[in-house]
Symmetry: C2
Subunit: 93 residues, 2 copies
DNA sequence: CGACCTATGTATAATGT
DNA sequence: TACATTATACATAGGTC
């Protein structure tokens, strides 16, 4: 968006990179919030920047709660949409 | 966006909610990816849906690595942008 | 269910204050 | 250095296949 099309690669200018980080971090958090409300989803978002900034978001539940839930998933269930009834059972357990 | 402006509240129609989830999940992951590349940031994103879907994203590092880093932060350092030098020192330690 | 289409609302890059 | 503005690229609601 913006005045010019932006290539998706590391922004070399430090000031520009931090300004862009601030803006996009806010946008990403807003989107995460909207998704969590619209679709009744638990979302956890964590960002670490090498330039010394941290940002995170989560909906109703605490980030910790969501992280624990994720970590407790068997490995093969991480990372792809669930579809079978049995998988859904497990997810809801 | 879209043809109609959407209020930010839970979408009651199940089908619509799942369709919106699919679309916005993809959009959110794309944004997270762009942020991680443009700003050289580690991002972890986890989504749990009550309707039985799971989605996640992380950049170079594994989600687990980022989660561990987050969990190991002292409580008072979680949750807001870092600004003072001393805080940045701690974050980089 | 996901992929594509298109009108329209949003996010945001560059710029101004 | 942060905040406001503006032009423009992007995301997406609703619909079709």
């Amino acid at each position: 968006m913006g005045r010019v099309k932006l290539q998706i690669k590391r922004i070399e200018n430090t000031t520009s990179r931090q300004v862009t980080f601030s803006k996009r971090r806010n946008g990403l958090i807003k989107k995460a919030y909207e998704l969590s409300v619209l679709c009744d989803v638990d979302v956890a978002l964590i960002m670490f920047s090498p330039s010394g900034r941290l940002g995170h978001f989560s909906g109703n539940k605490s980030i910790e709660e969501i992280l624990v839930r994720y970590v407790n998933l068997p490995e093969h269930e991480r990372g792809s949409p669930m579809s079978t009834d049995s998988q859904i059972e497990v997810l809801h357990a």
